[in-house]
């Protein structure tokens, strides 16, 4: 049986019908929001990370029906009025990505981290992104980018 659910994604209201087994990440991508990537689909890699009601979650570990009534922020919602979010700017300026596959998840994870800890140490950043796997960068520039983003956002 399909369920009718309501969601607010990046400030836009949606009302959709989903099968109970539809994962939130699949629904988001079906809505055209393909910035949220699917990596491992077993909850290991963090590529599908989104903000759900103010906290970061892996959208492949949540059924869409569980998110009925929720407010969601995906990577598409970070930039405002054509201006990149300071975290996005910092990733750009510090070469915090190579292939870009993990980037949407990394950006949202950095967003969560900096919300709770506006001035993280390198160790806290590394712990904070431990749920997100990057196979290109070796994390060095990602850590640098998050540090730079923290500075920008504190200004």
């Amino acid at each position: 049986m399909k369920h009718r659910i309501k969601l607010k994604v990046n400030g836009v209201d949606y009302e959709v019908e989903v099968e109970p087994r539809t994962l939130l990440v699949h629904l988001l991508r079906d809505l055209g929001l393909t910035g949220t990537h699917i990596g491992c689909v077993t909850g290991e890699c963090g590529a599908c990370t989104v903000m759900l009601n103010g906290v970061s979650v892996k959208s492949c570990l949540i059924f869409a029906v569980q998110a009925d009534g929720a407010e969601i922020l995906t990577v598409e919602g970070l930039a405002k009025d054509g201006k990149l979010h300071p975290i996005q700017e910092a990733f750009w300026e510090n070469h915090g990505l190579q292939c870009g596959y993990c980037t949407p998840g990394m950006l949202i994870t950095a967003y969560q981290l900096l919300q709770r800890n506006p001035n993280p140490t390198e160790d806290e950043i590394r712990r904070g992104i431990s749920g997100n796997i990057c196979r290109c960068t070796g994390y060095v520039n990602i850590v640098k980018a998050i540090k730079a983003a923290a500075e920008k956002m504190r200004r």
């Binding site: 109970p20 994962l23 077993t42 909850g43 759900l52 979650v57 994870t109 981290l113 749920g131």
Partner: protein
């Protein structure tokens, strides 16, 4: 990676959830879903009915209740990790919660869900057993309280009846002159423990061990007390030498499993080392005036 089809219920009350659980034999409760959803996607389990208790109000809280702290089953690991009340009155639990999975899992996963799932290498079970906690369950015939030692039956198996739901976890506040430590060894960030250990040590005014609780996880099919170590510490003045000597007996009398993560021999060695480190850290924390 799509689970088998199932029917989904989102009851608004605990009674309704218990009713559904009782009515549908092939049903499963979903809390945070951080263990359940992967298992369903891998089709290791294929429940026909899923009962989401995430919409029942009043199952998420951390508060004092006399000498205890009570925690609602739907309280997330992040809420446990960041609770000022727990950090002051029972810091062992937030210390363990902060090491679960990763930030996203901790934002979503719940203490009740983890305890009911009962992965033999999970972080909470040894802690709850070391604290001699109690678990409250709601069923068709009302509520009952289960001692932690009776709750952890076997790998992925609790003593909850098929139609019961865990609603609350009760743990005591730490008494004066108590040190605590939770340590674990895992091979990769965010992974389950190969071995973990939760320890509590209470000293009397002369520095003798008045009470001690050491529980190992990951070594056997369920969390197990290191009884021989406990006996060797009780009533004696605890120092580094005694801890070193006693920790050698960490897995004595306990079953130790081999699997593709680690051999029994390796687990035995790691158990000794972690027990020693945890006890030393606990002892140091008693000294810090806790």
């Amino acid at each position: 990676m799509i689970p088998c089809a199932f029917e989904y219920f989102a009851p608004k009350t605990l009674d309704e959830a218990v009713y559904l659980l009782d009515k549908y034999e092939d049903s499963k409760i979903i809390a945070g879903g951080q263990s359940l959803v992967p298992l369903m996607k891998l089709r290791l389990i294929t429940p026909r009915y899923l009962i989401d208790i995430g919409r029942i109000p009043g199952l998420s809280y951390i508060r004092e209740d006399g000498e205890n702290i009570v925690i609602g089953a739907m309280t997330t690991h992040y809420e446990v990790e960041s609770s000022t009340l727990l950090k002051t009155k029972c810091p062992l639990l937030p210390e363990a919660a902060s090491l679960i999975g990763d930030v996203h899992v901790r934002n979503r996963g719940t203490i009740g869900g983890s305890l009911c799932h009962l992965d033999p290498a999970a972080d909470y079970p040894p802690v709850i057993l070391a604290l001699r906690g109690k678990l409250k369950a709601a069923g068709r015939d009302g509520e009952r309280i289960i001692d932690a030692q009776d709750f952890f039956v076997d790998m992925f198996t609790t003593s909850l009846k098929r139609n019961e739901i865990l609603t609350e976890i009760r743990i005591p506040k730490l008494v004066k002159r108590t040190g605590w430590a939770y340590l674990k060894i895992s091979f990769r960030a965010g992974h389950f423990a190969i071995v973990n250990v939760a320890t509590l040590v209470t000293l009397d005014e002369e520095g003798r061990c008045k009470d001690v609780s050491i529980v190992l996880g990951g070594v056997g099919s369920r969390p197990m007390r290191a009884k021989v170590v406990e006996e060797r510490l009780l009533g004696r003045v605890v120092d580094e030498h005694l801890i070193k000597e006693a920790s050698e007996y960490a897995t004595d009398e306990n079953e130790v499993l081999s699997d593709f993560h680690a051999s029994a021999e390796y687990r035995r060695e790691v158990s000794k080392v972690l027990t020693r480190r945890a006890l030393n850290l606990a002892l140091q924390r008693v000294g810090e005036g806790r």
